[in-house]
Amino acid sequence: MSCFTYSGSPPRWRRPIFFTLVILTALFAVTLLASVYQKDGLSPLEIALLILYAILMAWISFSFWAAVIGFILQIRDSDRFAISNQVAPLPLDGEARVALVMPVYNEDPRRVFAGLESICLDLLRNDAQSHFDLFILSDTRDPELWIEEELRWQKLNRTLQGKIQIFYRNRKENSARKVGNIKDYIHRWGGAYRYTLILDADSVMRGDTLLKMLRIMEANPKLALLQVPPAPVGKESLFARILQFASSVYGPIFTAGLNYWQMAEGNYWGHNAIFRTRAFSETCGLPRLPGEEPFGGEIFSHDFIEAAMLRRAGWQVWLAYDMTGSYEELPPTLIDYAKRDRRWCQGNLQHTKLFFAKGWHPINRLHLGMGIMSYLASPLWMLFLVLTGVDAYLRSQQQQVYFFGHYTLFPTWPETYSVEMGTVLVVTLVMLFLPKILAITLLLTRPEQLKEYGGALRATLSVLLETVISVLLAPVLMLFQSKFVVAILLRSNINWATQQRDDHQTGLLDAMAAHAGHTLLGLTAAWVSYYYVNNFFWWLIPVLLGMVLSIPLSMVLSNLNLGKLLHKYRFCLIPEESNPPYVLQQLHRLMQQKDPLHLAEQSRFSQVLIDPPIHALHLSMLPSGSNSKRQQHHLSGLIYQLLEEGEESLTIKEKRALLSDRDALRKLHLTTWSLPALDGDFGRVVV
């Protein structure tokens, strides 16, 4: 095993090489376009186009060079500066304890606990359980889901027979969302754990990966946070399968390229990452930003800022780009993907306020800028397309004059710029598509790995399919993101609803509601460009096609049968499907088998009131505390309401209030057992 001694500053040549390549490429492309424009002198419109093109080219040349360098690193199959090279020897210090922390908010409890059980089983299989405790940090507001979480927590404990400590708590108030949830954990139990590993509700991680992360942390005392890139898995819709495949094939070269220049100034992606609890607690207490949401208030995309704060305090943050065994799930449909994008967009645009804050390392500032740019790029591309159309229209209106002056026999032929324009187009296309070619080339050089992708032919055809779909989707996502950016700039805040993670298909009405505007815009743009700038229309077809077809495209991509068909014929296959690791096998088994928790037909709320063991379980999990007189009166009123008007008359908040109070629950429990028909009498009791 090769080891390196990292002194805290990256190799001097890496960043200059990378950023010089990026800048030179962008300059080259812009110079090409400028050479076309400047022959007649630059008009204001052309200057605007050049500026836009320069920004966009810098943006895509950034990911282009990350992919190229990542490809070189991957094909050499060695990187002296990969953090994963440095691991502590076994056995580890007994004090090196990790809290696996999963914050949840109104998620599907069955999926959450199946994921956790899979992780625990893999930890047991790797004999690593002694270093890990598990915390389910519930911010769930829905009383039904809350009680189900408690029941599943109890079931999981019974299944594992206490071999791994699994803890659960539901927060009374979900202030500051996920940030507040984790902060509450640190405040209460953080001191007991040297490390904390954050999982998302759909995260799954292999036991050996968790152990290796711990060993890396132990070996690097300056390392505060280690991020392992999560691979998307487990979804069956056509949309998700294509994205899973793209991420699996293209992801490794991009992350390797990313690590090439970011080194110890890495980023935090919010989950599937381990941090040194004390370092995090001392440096990452996030303040509220001045002003109102969406730009002020709580910091939404806290992860980038936390990474920057750790670096500001002198800690290292690394991306273990070459580690596997870290998984997450993708939104199953295009519409769900856009909804997630809406939240991320708001979080990233909020960083405009933080971009110039004092004390950030320049690389962290760059991370913030990249996050902002990943959403601003869409309206900029849109603006670029519109202005290009206007420019083409103005050019088409110019009359060609062949003879200047009087009585001349020699015409002045119009200059053609087709070679320059062709080069600009080729350069742009190469930068967009070469990374895909590099990724599949890399795969083709690894026969063993290739088999897991269904073989050379299927993998290549899958890349082609993915390319076609991504070309069609690009303008739709551009419109979605442009709309989000405008909405946020107009200070429209969003409702932080739970993600719909399970597989489902998009119906016609939903597709129309989401994409009718895109279709209309596509048809209008097609009509305008066809009649007014005919030449431009033909160039615009790839963009227009995605917009015009967005409704059927969205529906087809959400189709589960098509996704399963692809799976059956081994297209868009990923190694996690052809050769699933133990942890994913367990997850699949747990989700496919009959639910071992026999949930009663009655509501969970009723179960807490009636079923004595569930009542006791819930009471045992409530924090102690007393209510004010006023709150007690309020709860009395709710008890009367329940008895007189039934369960349906209570709002979610009111049910939560009753479920959060021990005395009220005890009284209701006994009262309910005194009723002739138990909860069947709710709403019929005359008090």
């Binding site: 803890f167 708590r169 607690s281 107009l490 063991p613 999990m621 008895l643 008090v687």
Partner: protein, 156 residues
């Protein structure tokens, strides 16, 4: 809340059956239920009182069987919650069950070990604030259509 008295005093037989159902739902072994019921009936014929007495008796039984201190309400609740799953043969809890609860493996949260997380200072610099304000003000305040577009976006 004391006035939440429901007028459902059942006849004795019905009350006895209800208490039997209750103890059964608690997961208490049947021989113990059979032993307790006549005693509970003797104490009261009122359903609510019988239920309260049954609960008390159950708690007492759990604390003596599992050696849980009377003051340890949390421990009692945990034992109560797990009772249906820990039934041994012959109406007694198995040794395993007792061992399991002794180790408190079903404790929802561990002992607290606090760690402070002080709020950090982030000094915002004017360029960021100015750029953000510029964008938002142009879009929101200055454009005549700003608010209309915003409303439309909210609707869509």
């Amino acid at each position: 809340m004391d006035q939440t008295v429901v007028h459902t005093t059942a006849p004795t037989i019905a009350a006895r059956m209800r208490v039997q159902d209750y103890l059964c739902a608690c997961g208490l072994p049947q021989p113990i239920i059979d032993e307790w019921l006549p005693e509970l009936e003797q104490e009261s014929s009122d359903l609510a009182t019988m239920l309260a007495a049954a609960q008390q008796r159950l708690n007492g039984w759990l604390s003596s069987t599992l050696e849980i201190a009377d003051a340890d309400q949390q421990g009692l609740l945990i034992a109560h919650a797990a009772l249906p799953y820990w039934q041994g043969d012959g109406g007694h809890l198995s040794a395993d069950a007792r061992a399991a609860i002794a180790h408190c493996c079903f404790l929802a949260t561990p002992q607290e070990h606090p760690l402070a997380m002080p709020i950090q200072k982030i000094i915002l610099c004017t360029p960021g604030v100015q750029i953000t304000n510029l964008f938002t003000n142009i879009c929101h305040d200055c454009l005549p259509l700003g608010r209309r577009v915003l409303n439309w976006l909210r609707r869509v």
